[in-house]
Symmetry: C3
Subunit: 139 residues, 3 copies
C-alpha cells in the first residue's frame, strides 16, 4: 500500500467552463505504479467543482443551463454586496457540486463507464490558471 500525491494544471475560462480531465487523471494513475486503489481528485478553490458527465457539447450546455436557472449570475448575492467581486453565484454553485471526487481504479485503469468522463467545472467569473490535487492510494 502506498500514497502518491500529484497535481494537474489547467486553464479555464470561468463562467461554468467545463474541462475534461480524464486523461490527466488516468496518466497520474498509470505513473503511480499502483495497480488497484482510489484516485481522489480535489480542487483547492472555493469557486470550482468536480463530477462526471458524458463529455459532449449537448450535456455541457444542459449542465450550464441548470446552474444558470437555479443560481443565475445576474441577481443579487450577499457575497457580492459584501465583497464586490461579482462571483457570489460561483461560490454557491461550487459548494453544491463539491470540490472533491473519488474514483476507484483496477489494473491501473480508472473504472469509468464508456460514456463517462471526469470533469472540472470552473464557476468563477474570469479566466484562471488552476491546479488540482490528484492523490492515488492503493497497492
Amino acid at each position: 500500500m502506498a500514497v502518491e500525491t500529484m497535481s494537474i494544471q489547467l486553464s479555464a475560462r470561468g463562467d461554468a467552463d467545463v474541462v475534461n480531465i480524464t486523461d490527466q487523471v488516468s496518466s497520474v494513475v498509470r505513473e503511480s505504479g499502483l495497480n488497484d486503489g482510489i484516485a481522489t481528485i480535489f480542487s483547492p478553490s472555493a469557486t470550482t467543482a468536480l463530477t462526471t458527465i458524458e463529455f459532449e457539447s449537448g450535456c455541457i450546455s444542459d449542465l450550464k443551463r441548470m446552474f444558470d436557472e437555479i443560481l443565475p449570475p445576474e441577481r443579487n448575492y450577499q457575497h457580492n454586496l459584501k465583497w464586490g467581486d461579482g462571483n457570489g453565484h460561483s461560490h454557491v454553485r461550487a459548494a453544491l457540486l463539491k470540490s472533491s471526487f473519488t474514483v476507484p481504479f483496477v489494473d491501473r485503469r480508472l473504472t469509468l463507464g464508456t460514456w463517462q468522463q471526469i470533469i472540472f467545472v470552473d464557476f468563477d467569473n474570469r479566466s484562471r490558471r488552476r491546479k488540482l490535487v490528484v492523490q492515488v492510494m492503493g497497492e
Copy 2:
C-alpha cells in the same frame, strides 16, 4: 492494509428509480475481511448517481419531485437535439448528484446513521441492468 474490489449488480427501472444498496455494500465490507477503512461505491455510468437518504417512500417521492422540478424530462435539452435519445435530463441529474460515494467502516460495520441508507438512483429513461464498483480499502 489491503484493497478489495468487488461489484454489485442490480436492476433499475429508470426515471429516477431509487434502489437501496446498503445491505449489498455491508456484505462486501464483511466479506473483505477488513476491520476499518473506507468503502468507495462507484457507478460506471453517465446517467446514474449515489447518495444517502432515509429510505422510505415519502423521502423517495420528495427527492423525485425536486429533480422533476429543477430538471424536468419534458423540456428541450441540447443532448436530446444532438443524439435523439431523450435522456438529456438524466445526464444533468447524474452529474449534479454524482456517481461516487465514500463511507467509512469500523469493526466491519458501515458508520451509517440509524435512518440513513445508501441509495443508487437511476435517472435514465428506461430499465437497465446495472453493475456498481465497490472498493474496500483498509486494515
Copy 3:
C-alpha cells in the same frame, strides 16, 4: 499505511445552520501521526451534509437562499404527510448535498485552498448535538 477513526462533536441549530469544521478536521489529521493521505468526513445522519465553501456570512446566506428556493420548508412533502415531523425538506436537501466528503492531506496539512473551508450543514428543523466520523488513511 494506517487507518485512524476519530469523531468530532458539535452543536447545530438546524434550518441549514452551517458550521465550519476545518480546524477540527485539521486537528484529527495532525494527531493521527500520518503525513500523507485522505481524510474522509462522514455525517451519520439523514438530514445533514458536508461540502466546502468560503466561510463568510455572504456565501452562507446565499447557500441558504438556494436551498430555500429549490426545496422550501413550507410546502407539502410526502415525508411530512407520512411521519408528521416537518423535516421533509431537510431530508431531500441532505440527499442532494450528500453526507460524505473526502480531502487529501500532504505533510500533515489539508490541501484546502486559502479561501476554502470544510462545512457541516444541518438541514434539520431543530437544534441537535451532532457527531461526525473523521477517518484518516495514509502513511
